[in-house]
């Protein structure tokens, strides 16, 4: 989806510090290049999709700049997170999943980025990520 803090709009100091500096994509190829950089840089392990330039997925889910959803087994929205960044709350999703499906077993997943190593829990549920 649209970049939240591109260099030609509202860039933040943290983008420069973290070397995440991109202009707002004007073509799908540019958007895909950023998505590929993200997945490669973090060795991202989950299924990943990119919204096309019509922003159809974003419009359908009111997802920008970031938002979390859980879709249940019947294909209905079971959980709708708040609009990020202020109401973007992964812990709330984990708690929601635990209360509905039982405690989620986590396996340690190393996310490596330029020498930094972060440890992140990977839920057993299949996750789909859209950028």
């Amino acid at each position: 989806m649209r970049e939240a803090h591109p260099t030609d709009e509202w860039q933040m100091k943290s983008n420069v510090k973290d070397d995440v500096c991109y202009a707002q994509p004007k073509t799908l190829e540019q958007r895909l290049a950023i998505a590929n950089d993200f997945t490669k840089r973090f060795n991202y392990p989950l299924p990943f999709g990119v919204d096309d330039m019509s922003n159809a997925a974003n419009d359908a889910y009111a997802a920008w700049p970031e938002r979390l959803y859980v879709i249940d087994e019947s294909g209905r929205v079971a959980y709708r997170g708040g609009m990020g960044p202020f109401k973007y709350n992964p812990k709330e999703v984990r708690d929601w999943l635990a209360s509905r499906y039982g405690e989620v077993k986590h396996q340690e997943t190393k996310i490596e980025e330029k020498g930094l190593q972060k440890s992140a829990g990977k839920p057993e549920e299949k996750s789909q990520t859209s950028k």
Binding site: Y22, D37, A62, A63, I71, S127, S130, K131
Partner: protein, 88 residues
């Protein structure tokens, strides 16, 4: 009449000023507040999707740029966590 209009203008200006201060605190600085209003607010939407609604099965592009798939494709009766965001 002019006095009323003057007070309305003063009150409105004070409201705008207070809102700008609030936004500046929330965003981090006055510059960030301006950029938030210019670049972020036009794209932030609450949307109409509610818990219990059928999840829109929008089409996404795979990372290779050629393949496409539907959001719910492949979940086959399992719950699905959707994480929307951008790199920046």
């Amino acid at each position: 009449m002019r006095k009323t209009l003057l007070w309305i203008a003063i009150s409105f200006s004070a409201l705008v000023f207070v809102a700008f201060i609030g936004l500046s605190l929330m965003a981090g600085s006055p510059k960030d507040a301006l950029y938030m209003v210019r670049y972020a607010l036009p794209h932030m939407h609450r949307g109409n999707l509610k818990v219990g609604d059928v999840a829109p099965d929008a089409r996404l592009v795979a990372l290779n740029g050629f393949d496409h798939f539907r959001i719910r494709e492949g979940s086959s009766g399992k719950p699905l966590v959707l994480v929307f965001g951008s790199f920046t």
